[in-house]
Amino acid sequence: MPVQVNLPTVLRPHAGGERTVAVEGDTVGQVLTALVAQYPGMTGQVIDDSGSLHKFVNVYLNDDDVRYLSGIDTPVAGADQLSILPAVAGGAVPVGASHPR
């Protein structure tokens, strides 16, 4: 049974503008791999070259960050929702770096 995947705005253009898509898979990794296969424009943005979650992406199974479950091996079922959101971080000039202006 397909799992509902909620896409962040930055990935929606790769899925025809859809906010939510249905993707098959028994684990988080299988669902994300199938998602990228279905929408190749997302290649390299969700899963990195080694098959791990991209470090600038957070993935939630329902309300839980999958990094605190079993990562990409976390099992999923038909009623589950996966949500992908960008990791949001930054900050002032790092120590030792030059200022941009």
């Binding site: 962040p8 705005t9 959101l85 960008p86 949001v88 971080a89 930054g90 002032a92």
Partner: protein, 135 residues
């Protein structure tokens, strides 16, 4: 252009002041088509640092769901620079997650907080006007 109701502007600046001496951060919900923010979502800075910020991912998820449930989206992120001007740092540019977002900097370097907004696309920084609404 970014449009901010005065209340959103005030909440944003207040959250940044309360976060001192660390950087503070949060998200703005609103209409991506018009660039008008409607809701300020103050979030925890997981980095708990005066030089770095990380939006708490769980609070991001909650904010995203709340915005979507009101027919809005997360349209941008704000954070404070405690000792530097309101201009994106190389770290901010390198980690800008979405070219459609507004990147708001609140500088607390001087006596009066300074709020400026930018678009960051493919590493290029463009400042945009900030329009304040009275309501």
């Amino acid at each position: 252009m970014l449009t901010l109701p005065k209340t959103v502007h005030q909440q944003m600046v207040a959250h940044c002041l309360v976060g001192l001496p660390d950087e503070a951060c949060g998200l703005l919900g609103g209409d991506p088509a018009t660039g008008e923010a409607v809701t300020c979502y103050p979030t925890r800075n997981l980095a708990a640092s005066a030089k770095l910020y990380t939006v708490d991912p769980k609070e991001h998820l909650r904010a995203d769901r709340d915005a979507e449930s009101h027919g809005h989206s997360i349209i941008g992120v704000f954070h404070s620079h405690t000792h530097t001007e309101a201009y994106p740092s190389p770290t901010d540019v390198a980690q800008a997650p979405d070219p459609d977002w507004h990147y708001i900097l609140v500088s607390l370097r001087d006596t009066e907080p300074v709020v400026r907004s930018y678009r960051i696309v493919d590493g290029s920084i463009d400042e945009e006007p900030v329009r304040l609404l009275s309501s």
